[in-house]
Symmetry: C2
């Protein structure tokens, strides 16, 4: 929820599974600062993803290499002081993944080139316009370039190339201004382009050849992880719903802002909901990468990953809604929830298995038929539907409108009393019968449940708390919504409906993954 | 869904309400390129937010001002060629909002300062270590600085200061390398700091004094807009649910990827779900801004805006779920949906009004009591609950378990047949009665509905389509989930439950806004 898309989890040894938000970790490190804990933290951070250490050493290597051009006498004598620009280029261009580095390099190269051509052209015109007009012309052109590039980079289609426009702006200014003061703008432009090219070459060279971190690989992993965390979150949510004897209704505003410490899978799933931007930027970077590792063919469908991610997110919204029901203040009684336990559990397990099997297929780049798995998911969901269907009387407080029936069915009241159905009457009959013969009667669980829920949700429903008198209210008072208890049982219907809708959406997820498998030419298996 | 957080909407005159995604707009401009349409597009883009034009002119002005330092002879003679660094600083530091510029300036200033101190210290040590050791020491230090800064900037708490670490890296390299080659590292460091300070000063000066664009103001507007789009989306969704005679079930995977062209409010609401990162970055920037405009006191609680945004997003998840029900393949029949029309409509209108009134209060920075509005929302939701409660028999296919009743209640089968209830039998009775006396019977609407839904959802429920035989399946075949029609009516229960849950969450939204109002010292009104 807090939108820290690049938030990386940190494991603290004291609470093995407690993952702190960045701010918390910063705070805790200040409060109880101990060197050992700190080293442990750093160690965990590195162990979590060894690419971080590799990246750090690669940057060090790249700047060292480019600095050698100046530190060693021979290259310095060839290239001169302008070589300093290559250091700047390396420091600015070096990104985490290969694709992002290529992308940034492209921005820088094209931006510098365009700015160079433009600057040389304008400088030539300015040179021939006379001593007075020259600075005016140059000043005007600087203003215009600044305004135009800044405007264009706000345009939605050009937002990804924002950095390129910055490069155009400052390269243009630097070349034209130093050309004006030092003369020979072409020389300045060429020198700068040379040193930028050297810097860019070193950055790309180190990035690609030394333990390359591919954006495509990251994207692939990220998607697989999203699938798994979705399955985990679903199972966790359903487990909590069915297990908790009394769901504790924590202060909602607390649970909104807090991190649901006892629901790690939910938090992971929630973070995938906020990760759309991350997936997209990885896909953008991956498009720049040459075929590599497992992704051997050209025009690999990286954008298809973003699409699968979108469908996955659509499924995740249902899990969010399920989680909402779990923490809702309107709750079906526990024994009602437990009635459909086996069906709900079964459908959940099958659905989670399907999601995990999709994840596994993507992970292994295999394409296998999900027909039998889908069939199982469907049949278990169907069983759930049928169970709800059969016992739907449990979900409603009474089976007939109590007030209206007599008024609305005047004809029927004249019919023979044997066909007239009055549920309340009947319930009383049932109760008295049961009370008399309770010892020798094998009362079914569902029947027991039914009566219990009827007793619980008696009509008239419990009214909302009376509000304080009009006009006399304190500033701190905010009236609270109270649920009619009689609709509480419908919360179970809500939960199962959402679960069923989740399964329905799984069909589309399977389809999206199949589409991806086809386009990415995953190996067909099991045929 | 597509995660383009900064995606700005573009109005095309031909389709007045069609808002194109960035890619689409780029594509369409290439396909049917016409100069007039293009100018119109740019004009609309500017009109939508005039700050864009202002920003572009400000950048132009800033680079012009800093270039004048070189173009005009006097300052150039004072500062020399190093002044070129100020241009770079302006081009890199100038951000859209005042806060972001301050933040970037802080990063640059602190980064340069730290790098300068470090470089001078290391250079002094290297100078005294002898001719051979000097380049080795410098090279090692460059490698270490590169590795360490790159590692630290990956650490979650330091991610926002990523730019600062880049500055440290390249400033350090530039100073120490040019100090080595040209001697006098202190001089180099000081010159660079001077020119960076001048560039930074110009950038801040222009950004703050010429039509400042405050991040705080933007954040304030963004939050108010989110409230309004939530209210719009809720109303739109409910309206579609109640209005559509036959909800058209478009191919889901299409509707996932498409932009729901007929649901502009939903799309806006969905984009607020993805805007958590935007809110947070605006709040981060706003913290750097001095008191300004309407936000006159120090330590204005900008982070509270992010919190309200999080609670708002929690409400929006319910709207997403409502939208899911609207486009679900399992649908309650239209005439069932229409049964609770007035109650649903009423609850929706009250809820939307409350959200809008919260938006208005924030917009005007007023703090007013929402007691009466909340009361009205609650009572209308209560009416809805009661209506569902009274007519809950409509939501289930039959009022008693048809298969189990005979088995489970063996005692009852011995009871006099007059008290025995068999719903299917009864339904037939009702039907025949009605057929005979349909002309002179004033059948209530609810009763009619009840029978209709019973007929629709007859037991046994419609089975899922038989799957093809095991083993013989084509690759393209993916089985489809079919809903049991009998659970379709529960979809209405689902819809109303979600609506009720939305109202419950509104309480917390009101609370969060109240907390914000207190902390931001909004003017109290109506007391």
């Amino acid at each position: 929820m807090n939108g820290k898309k690049d938030c990386v989890e940190i494991n603290i040894p004291a609470a093995t599974k407690a993952k702190l938000a960045p701010d918390d970790s910063a705070k805790s490190s200040f409060q109880g600062f101990s060197c050992k804990a700190w080293i442990w933290k750093v160690w965990e951070f590195c162990k979590e993803d060894s690419n971080r250490v590799i990246f750090a050493f690669k940057v060090g290597l790249a700047v060292l290499l480019v600095s050698l051009l100046i530190l060693v006498r021979e290259p310095y004598e060839i290239f001169g002081t302008n070589i300093i620009w290559s250091i700047l280029t390396v420091a600015i261009m070096f990104e985490y993944t290969v694709g992002a580095t290529f992308n940034r390099g492209f921005n820088r190269a094209l931006g510098s080139l365009l700015a160079g051509i433009l600057a040389i052209a304008v400088a030539q015109v300015a040179l021939h316009s006379g001593r007075v007009a020259e600075p005016i012309l140059i000043g005007t052109s600087i203003f215009l370039i600044g305004a135009i590039t800044s405007f264009i980079k706000l345009w939605p289609s050009f937002v990804p190339y924002e950095y390129g426009f910055r490069v155009i702006l400052f390269t243009y200014c630097l070349i034209i201004v130093s050309g004006y003061r030092m003369g020979n703008p072409i020389r300045t432009a060429m020198d700068r382009l040379y040193s930028i090219a050297i810097g860019g070459f070193v950055a790309v060279f180190v990035n690609v050849l030394v333990f390359p971190i591919w954006a495509g690989e990251q994207l692939h992993k990220e998607l697989v992880n999203s699938f798994n965390s979705l399955a985990d979150a679903l199972e966790e949510c359903v487990k909590k719903y069915l297990e908790d004897e009394g769901l504790d209704h924590q202060e909602f505003s607390k649970t909104v802002m807090d991190e649901f410490p006892d629901e790690p899978a939910y938090r992971k799933c929630r973070s995938t909901l906020n990760s759309s931007a991350k997936l997209e930027s990885l896909a953008n970077a991956a498009k720049w990468e040459p075929p590599h590792g497992r992704f051997q063919h050209f025009f690999y469908p990286w954008s298809e990953y973003v699409k699968v991610g979108a469908v996955l997110r659509y499924c995740a919204y249902e899990v969010m809604a399920l989680h909402g029901v779990l923490h809702s203040e309107i709750q079906a009684p526990y024994n009602l929830r437990i009635t459909f336990k086996s069906e709900i559990q079964d459908a959940t397990n099958q659905a989670a298995e399907l999601v995990r099997s999709l994840a596994k297929d993507i992970c292994n780049m295999k394409r296998s038929l999900k027909t039998s798995l889908l069939k199982r998911v469907h049949s278990s969901t169907e069983r759930l539907q049928r169970a709800i269907d059969m016992h739907s009387y449990l979900l409603t407080a009474h089976s007939d409108p109590p007030d209206n029936s007599s008024k609305q069915l005047p004809k029927l009241s004249h019919a023979p009393s044997s066909t007239l159905f009055d549920p309340d009457q009947m319930d009383d009959d049932l109760d008295s019968t049961n009370l008399e013969k309770s010892t020798n009667q094998t009362e079914s669980y569902h029947e027991m449940m039914r009566k219990q829920s009827r007793r619980l949700h008696s009509w008239p429903s419990r009214e909302v708390d009376a509000f304080e008198e009009e006009g006399v209210f304190s500033t701190d008072f905010l009236p609270r919504m109270k649920a009619l208890e009689s609709t509480a049982a419908l919360s179970l219907a809500n939960f199962t409906s959402l679960l069923i809708e989740f399964v329905v959406r799984l069909d589309h997820l399977v389809e999206a993954v199949d589409e991806l498998s086809k386009m990415a030419k995953f190996k067909l298996e099991g045929l």
